[in-house]
Amino acid sequence: MAVVQTRNVTKVFKEGELGAVNNVNLETREGEFLVFLGPSGSGKTTLLRMIAGLETPTSGEILIGGKVVNDLTPRERRIAMVFQSYALYPHLTVYKNIAFPLKAQNVPKNLHKEKVEWASSLLGIGALLQRKPRELSGGERQRVALARAIVREPSVFLLDEPLSNLDAKLRLSAREELERFHRRVGTTTIYVTHDQVEAMAMGDRIMVLNKGVVRQIGTPKEVYDDPADTFVATFLGSPPMNLVENDGVIVGFRPEHFRLAEDIREVDKLTFKFRVENVEYLGAEFILSGLLMGGKADGKKVIARLLLGHSYEAGTTYDFAISARQLKFFDRTTEKKVPAKALTWQ
């Protein structure tokens, strides 16, 4: 097991253009499950590929287990990677796919069978060993790719959106399986995704990236409850955080904290008239979108997420409120988090 570090890692693909990855500094913890989260084009995959050794950083250093690995080939880095497309070798059986890394790293032949059986039983694909990849379902392919990754017991696991090719139902079970699997092998894992739900559910910590820049690193709770800037605030959470500008600061609050005023017991709360424009019934909850009425926030679009209980109608104005401790404050120009501020709203 090992720790991955990057020091000011930058990748510029075309000279003169903005870097795909800019000055990234990170350090994983021993055995941690770290998630790189960001929209497409945020540089998360490029960063992962640099750690894997498939891309060379333009500047900066990458360390694995305390050793600078910039000049080492992927093979010498002792990492394993699972690709988005799984990249199974189409002409080899599942057995030979899993045994390939052992062969390539000159593991004595008499150990192959034992190791392949260990890896395949860990992932429950023991019955598929004689099949070719094209005879497998998406979920099975993913497991074969994982088995191929763990078979040589790597020091670091790199996973590049391994669930994105699965259908929604399978994705959920595969996610749980991955979590269980990580707990069992305990190898330091870096996981790339654009899906915030996956990131929240699986990550010990999440690193949020946008345009090649790290916006925040923290536990799912920290990133969700205490976003470092408006990008993180709106990228995590569905629907995203409401942002309302007032007196040179941006005030943010989560849709689930915006509720009927009578339901909020706290004294210190901010009340608004909320004119509901649209009601979405999602079975377990309502999503209301509408406008704030009156005062400085008049006409601002916001979204509320409410559990069932009351019924709401479009076109009606309600008294809504947010508990004051749920309000987040961001600077208007830098969009970075700032300390709480007393504001007048009328």
Binding site: A52, G53, L54, P74, R148
Partner: protein
């Protein structure tokens, strides 16, 4: 849109079977007149005693086949055809693979290099071969000239490229390779670019070096396309007579004679149509086997 297009096409074809036939007929005519008829005629001649200019024809049964099987020229020609084809294919596959690896990654001037490599395929075989005839000439050979200049051979005692049996065979093989390498390179390049780039990357991460990735990952994945290149190349070499005809005319002493050139020499130049037809019929089983293999490969790669 795609569904609509398909519908229109099928309705049109169903409404006028004549249109379908009309579209099909050029191909049918071409195959019938230029391949089917000569083939039937060849079979017909092979069992007769037809000669150019001879008036009457008689059925002679297997007589032609019996006599050519006993002829040493025929056996030599058959042997040569096989040697030429196999040697040329081995050299072509090795070179085309190296070239396709070299040309896969972008570099400055790649377009120009690709163009230059493709040139031999674009040039007519006869013209190219005439060029080679000059390059390998006993007096004016540029190769000999270079060897003399490098002091490897003495002036006026250079090798007779086309005059010694072994060298002549090597020369014929060389020209076949020169001609086929561009074609195979293009096919292999297409096959190579069709491999998703994650697969060699995964191999690199799994710890495979260049050779292992090439021989255990890339080449096996490219097998269907490799077989297409080999089978096409085999047909081109096995049935070709231009190179031999222009370069050596089968000489010296039949040492470079191949089945097609022997058939031409016997049937047309020697005016023994019947024997020429019988010789050329020996190409048929080989070509049928190749055609069968090609169809199987095509079918298999469809299934994958």
């Amino acid at each position: 849109m795609a569904v609509g297009g398909g519908k229109i096409k099928s309705i049109g074809a169903a409404q006028s079977p004549l249109l379908g036939f009309a579209m099909f007929s050029p191909a049918l005519l071409y195959i019938g007149l230029l391949i089917g008829a000569p083939f039937v005629l060849a079979v017909f001649y092979a069992f007769s005693d037809a000669r150019i200019g001879g008036g009457e024809m008689h059925y002679v049964g297997l007589e032609n086949f019996r006599s050519i099987l006993q002829s040493p020229s025929f056996r030599k020609a058959l042997e040569n055809s096989i040697i030429f084809t196999i040697c040329a294919q081995i050299i072509v596959m090795v070179c085309a693979n190296i070239l396709s690896i070299a040309l896969e990654k972008p570099f400055r001037g790649r377009g120009l290099v690709r163009f230059l490599i493709l040139l031999p395929w674009v040039a007519p075989v006869s013209l190219g071969t005439i060029g080679w005839k000059w390059i390998l000439d006993s007096i004016y050979s540029v190769i000999t000239w270079v060897l003399v200049w490098l002091h490897i051979v003495k002036p006026y005692s250079g090798p007779y490229w086309l005059g010694e049996a072994k060298l002549a065979m090597a020369s014929v093989i060389l020209v076949h390779c020169w001609r086929l390498i561009p074609f195979s390179t293009v096919i292999l390049l297409a096959g190579r670019t069709a491999i998703p780039k994650e697969i060699p990357e995964a191999a690199a991460i799994d710890g495979a070096g260049f050779w292992r990735t090439t021989f255990q990952i890339n080449l096996p994945i490219m097998t269907p396309i490799l077989s297409v290149a080999v089978l096409f190349g085999t047909i081109f070499t096995f049935t070709d007579m231009t190179v031999v005809y222009i370069l050596t005319a089968g000489g010296p002493y039949d040492s470079t004679q191949t089945l097609p050139s022997l058939a031409f020499a016997t049937g047309i130049q020697g005016s023994d149509l019947a024997a020429g037809a019988a010789i050329s019929l020996f190409l048929v089983p080989v070509l049928i086997a190749i055609a069968y293999l090609m169809l199987r490969v095509a079918h298999r790669s469809e299934v994958i």
